[in-house]
């Protein structure tokens, strides 16, 4: 299994022409810090060519488990060792969707100030939807974090007729508000 560094990408459908669906799995480890993991949220944003969300309905997370085309869905209960999983029917994704970005944020406001810097490990991995075989995984994205409260983990995007996957691992110190601003989502 291949480990990918931040910024690196792989041409998924060119390498595996039979690939029609993906599972994106996010796994984390915060030790005993349950106050941190309880409030972690994984979300998937379906974007246009300018990396802006197509609409607020294209923000897939625990309270909106799928989007209008129902090709990108978050599982209520992840299967296997991941904390969260997102299934993507690659061959049915509408053409206006250019990028599918996986993000993570801390849901704040109840008074417990935490940051993603407390995470020991955070890995995004890509599985084949057909057989659950792991294709690639990111390096440990937690090692570069400090006071951040949100992070773009990676993205699946169209490139010259193929779908590629890229590890991003960029943190935000402004939490979901910063993410929402960058991706054009109205909170």
């Amino acid at each position: 299994m291949a480990t990918m560094k931040r910024g690196s990408n792989v041409a998924l459908t060119r390498e595996i022409p039979s690939l029609t669906g993906l599972v994106l799995g996010v796994r984390w480890d915060a030790g005993a810090e349950t106050a941190l993991t309880d409030n972690l949220v994984v979300a998937t944003i379906l974007c246009d060519e300018h990396s802006k969300a197509l609409s607020d309905e294209h923000f897939v997370f625990f309270n909106q488990l799928t989007e209008p085309s129902m090709t990108v869905s978050q599982l209520e209960k992840a299967m296997g060792p991941d904390a969260e999983q997102i299934e993507i029917q690659l061959d049915a994704v509408p053409p206006e969707v250019r990028r599918i970005v996986v993000v993570m944020y801390l849901n704040e406001g109840m008074g417990l100030r935490r940051s993603l810097g407390r995470l020991r490990e955070c890995v995004l991995r890509v599985l084949n939807l057909a057989d659950n075989a792991e294709l690639v995984r990111s390096e440990n994205l937690a090692s570069a974090l400090d006071g951040e409260t949100a992070m773009t983990l990676g993205e699946v995007y169209r490139h010259q007729g193929d779908w590629k996957f890229k590890v991003i691992g960029e943190g935000y110190s402004t939490g979901i508000a910063g993410l929402a601003k960058d991706y054009g989502i109205t909170l």
Binding site: D38, N39, V41, D56, E57, F59, F61, F62, N63, Q64, L65, T66, E67, P68, M70, S73, L75, E76, E87, Q89, A92, N107, E108, G109, M110, I176, A177, A180, I185, T186, L187
Partner: protein, 326 residues
């Protein structure tokens, strides 16, 4: 939820039904036929002994089979009983009402009434009646804006982002002139648990003594209830009430303010005649992930217990008229 029963194809997506997630919405057959490999298209004429096919193929002619009557093509359903079987007597079966052959219930297309049954008059297609859409636009909370709840417009709906990100704050912004107003709420969780959350009743968290409460009652400048929206799926409903701690009459005034992480504000003016007892101010119902907020503004002469029971909380055991048992 602007649901038009005449046009299910335009119905909003059900994001709360994950088991539907791999099913494509039915599309009218005007589009090019989709060659979906994952779905068995049984309308093609092929022998039942197709190698490796585990799907039930009822369209191929088999001995002793009754014939299907209506026979439109273009079916993409998983079980298609409507394929034509040449040379079969159509009288063997009543006319199958399977126009379109879609397994999903599709009310949007007019059913051709047994047009292919011999002897039956080919009825003309019903004229396309303009659907009478009476659905009013649902009032929506807008981020960064203020929505005023009034007797004529008592409800507003938060979308799934507003109902699922950050914290929902409910605050009784009232001056001392009102009196010793305290607020609390009856709540019901998705697991069936229901109780009260109110500082004055000694239960400042919901559930009581929870390490990770869904709702917290606090007093800062004003009395407040905070809903942890990371756990919004756990909350079924919330009924907010106000009362005087000392049991005196309240000279109502001020505003109940509900605010979201994105800055949507819902304001309910507490302009009422002076009253004692308990006033149920506002309710929030979780409808498929969206919080529907409604001004209630109903007075109860009796206790908190009476008011909360009137809202259907019949599974709370009480210590006294304002305190649930632990």
């Amino acid at each position: 939820m602007n649901v038009d029963v005449h046009a299910p194809d335009r119905a909003p997506a059900r994001a709360d039904l994950p088991f539907l997630r791999h099913r494509a919405r039915f599309r009218p057959p005007a589009a090019a036929p989709v060659a979906s490999s994952s779905r068995a298209d049984l309308s093609t004429e092929r022998p039942a002994a197709a190698g490796g096919s585990s799907s039930l193929d009822l369209s191929s002619p088999g001995p002793g089979r009754a014939a299907a009557a209506a026979a439109p093509a273009g079916s993409s359903s998983s079980l298609d009983l409507s394929s034509p079987v040449p040379g079969r007597a159509p009288a063997a079966r009543p006319a199958a009402p399977a126009a379109g052959g879609s397994a999903s219930l599709d009310l949007s297309r007019p059913v051709t009434p047994a047009a292919q049954v011999p002897g039956a008059q080919a009825a003309p297609a019903p004229p396309a009646t303009p659907s009478r859409r009476v659905a009013r636009p649902l009032p929506r909370a807008r981020s960064g804006e203020r929505t005023l709840l009034t007797p004529k417009a008592p409800t507003v709906t938060l979308n799934r982002l507003q109902s699922g990100i950050g914290v929902l704050t409910i605050e009784a912004a009232c001056s001392a002139a009102v009196g010793d107003l305290r607020i609390g709420a009856g709540y019901e969780l998705a697991d069936g648990h229901s109780s009260l959350v109110s500082r004055v009743s000694g239960v400042a968290t919901a559930p009581r003594n929870s390490r990770r409460p869904v709702i917290v009652a606090r007093a800062e400048q004003y009395e407040r209830l905070l809903v942890d929206l990371r756990q919004s799926r756990q909350l079924d409903r919330l009924v907010v009430y106000g009362f005087s701690e000392s049991g005196r009459q309240l000279n109502w005034g001020g505003t109940l303010v509900l605010s979201t992480a994105g800055g949507a504000r819902v304001e309910l003016p507490l302009d009422r005649p002076p009253s004692g007892g308990v006033a149920v101010l506002l309710s929030i119902y979780n409808v498929r992930g969206e919080f529907v907020v409604r001004a209630e503004m109903e007075n109860f002469a009796g206790s908190i217990r009476n008011a909360i029971q009137a809202y259907g909380f019949d599974r709370i055991s009480w210590l006294d008229d304002r305190t649930p048992v632990a």
